[in-house]
């Protein structure tokens, strides 16, 4: 009958404790392996959450229509990147029933000045629906109104950073700014929104799209309706998003005169974008976890090495134990347990370090890393398993020693 495990564990602890430096160094590989598995997986998941939030910050139930066929690569199906027009946006608004608001967007980076202060900003020509679709909150004043769009009034709503840069502590409402030397009256200041996909949304200026087309970007040859870079659409509710996607596609194909040809535009739902991003971040998490897993494996090999050395050094002890009645299985269990204890202790320390690094990550980066109990459970059981597997060979070697030879050595 093999010895009971507690007995063996306390014996192993005594042996390992007698050589603390070596035990510590042996554990180090597993410590690093565990810490990195937990930290890496947490970082990967945090990145995943971050990306998801970015998409969600775009607005819920939102569809994005962009020129060109994204499915077939840039430029495919349409050689020009200006196949979408303001008229398309207006048609969607009037003819697609599942749509609540439509926000055509024309962007350009332009020079903004107020008095002697000058800066660059992303000028977005759009309509009042932008505020609805993109969920812009205002700190002061109002957003663009339907009247602004029709009457082509040169008004501007400033992003919070632009307002800060141009006006500092001054009150910006009803002041005049210049965009490419055209005068605009400030009617509103957006609340800070942070950045989305590397685009600082607080560095934006919103003006009526017709004003942008007529006064800033200029008339486009042979067009009755100005081109737009994006049409953002919000569906009536999330269940209507795919219906809207379908209806918009049909409408635009009709309007663009496409019968056999492929789409010259792309309609993507936020769900599509999320799925794409998720498939990328899933791979990221996997790669990070795998890399960290390799260091666990290396740690296991470290344990095996030291255990083999230990068996050689303790030949006499093994011989003595066998002489006084230890069976092969007793010796085997003893050495296996020593390896498992090393691995599991390494696991505990590594996990603690991993948790600490998650804390540091959360404090110092925009990523909000959360503790994954799955990762802890996995790395724990994996390190126990590693101890077991890499402990087997040394344990077998110990158990097979001939006591006479062992005692004589």
């Amino acid at each position: 009958m093999p010895l009971n495990l507690i007995e063996n564990a306390s014996m192993a602890a005594k042996t390992l404790g007698a050589n603390k430096l070596r035990s510590g160094l042996t554990m180090l590989g597993i410590v690093i392996g565990n810490a990195s598995v937990i930290a890496m997986v947490a970082a990967g998941q945090a990145a995943q959450i971050y990306v998801t939030r970015q998409f969600e910050s775009l607005g819920t139930n939102v569809l994005f229509i962009t020129p060109g066929d994204a499915q077939r690569g840039p430029g495919a199906g349409a050689s020009r990147a200006d196949t979408l027009t303001l008229a398309d946006a207006e048609a969607i608004a009037t003819e697609v029933p599942s749509v609540r608001a439509v926000s055509p967007e024309k962007n350009q980076r332009l020079r903004i000045s107020q008095g002697a202060t000058e800066t660059q900003a992303n000028v977005i020509g759009t309509t009042h629906d932008y505020g609805t679709v993109r969920q812009v909150e205002l700190a002061q004043g109002r957003f663009l109104s339907p009247v602004d769009a029709q009457a082509q009034v040169p008004v501007a709503v400033l992003g919070s950073e632009v307002a800060q840069t141009l006006f500092g502590p001054q009150h910006p409402l009803n002041q005049t700014i210049r965009i490419s030397n055209q005068r605009f009256r400030v009617v509103g200041i957006a609340a800070p929104r942070g950045s989305s996909f590397g685009q600082n949304q607080d560095e934006a200026v919103y003006i009526p799209i017709w004003v942008m087309a007529n006064q800033l970007t200029g008339q486009e040859a042979g067009r009755t309706s100005p081109s737009v870079q994006t049409i953002a659409v919000s569906a009536l509710d999330p269940t209507q998003a795919s219906a809207a996607q379908y209806q918009i596609t049909n409408l635009l194909r009709l309007r663009h005169g496409l019968f056999q040809d492929a789409n010259d535009f792309t309609v993507q739902s936020q769900q599509d974008l999320l799925t794409t991003a998720a498939s990328i971040t899933d791979i990221l998490v996997l790669v990070l976890g795998f890399t960290a897993g390799i260091s666990l494996l290396v740690g296991g090999i470290g344990i095996m090495n030291i255990m083999l050395v230990s068996v050689t050094e303790r030949t006499q002890e093994i011989g003595l134990r066998k002489a006084i009645g230890a069976k092969d299985s007793d010796i085997s269990i003893q050495f296996t347990i020593e390896a498992v204890i090393l691995a599991v202790m390494g696991g505990v320390i590594g996990t603690s370090l991993g948790i600490a690094s998650i804390g540091i990550m959360t404090l110092t980066t925009p990523l909000t890393a959360s503790l994954s109990f799955g990762a802890i459970a996995v790395s724990f059981s994996v390190s126990g398993g590693i101890g077991l597997i890499f402990g087997l060979l040394p344990a077998r070697r110990a158990a097979q020693l001939d006591p006479i030879v062992a005692l004589r050595s």
């Binding site: 009958m1 010895l3 007995e7 014996m11 005594k14 042996t15 404790g17 007698a18 006499q316 002890e317 011989g319 003595l320 134990r321 066998k322 002489a323 006084i324 009645g325 230890a326 069976k327 092969d328 299985s329 007793d330 006591p403 006479i404 005692l407």
Partner: protein, 236 residues
Amino acid sequence: MALIELEQVSKTYGSGPLAVPVLHDVSLTIEAGDYCAIMGPSGSGKSTVMNIIGCLDKPSQGRYYLDGQPISNLDANALAEIRNRRIGFVFQQFYLLPQLTAIENVMLPMVYANVPGPKRRTRALRALQKVGLGNRLHNRPNQLSGGQQQRVAIARAIVNRPQLLLADEPTGALDSQTSQSIMDIFADLNREGMTLVMVTHDREVAQQCERILTFRDGRLLNGQDASSHPSAASLG
């Protein structure tokens, strides 16, 4: 019935043309309660006999009965159990585990015998008191003198109350005065009925035994007769 009975035991290491014979046709009987020395020059086969008697090794030919039980056909686990319950070992180099205290070293055989925890401590304590070390329970081997270490080893050997105590050069690493104190312990144990078999080079030590078995070139020179008693022995 004799405690130890070897019948025409031979031992050969290796096989074929490289075979090294170390024991030839050894037959001997040791009765329960005997106090017996095994002598002989190195390479005479005395250690091999000792290993066979101690169930650490098996004869190549011949039979070995321990207390009437045939040993030759037992498997490794059964032999381990016999070593654990019925035989105590004392070695020249003591072989105490350095990370364990005296009493923990003594408790070790009981660990393998599955003796319940509390019982181990009392039995180990009694064994240590018997060898005169009741006051050094919690010292580690490196805090003990050679003689003290050997006494811990003797306590470890007798703690499972074996029928047979085997000692391999037990005084080989000790000065003569300490040696004598160890021999006194052995004499006491023998008086209490323990069978003792001791391998030694030291004729003075051997002469304290009741009987000397002398080996040369793998053969037992003075087997079963009364000439093996030290008073009649003329060899050495």
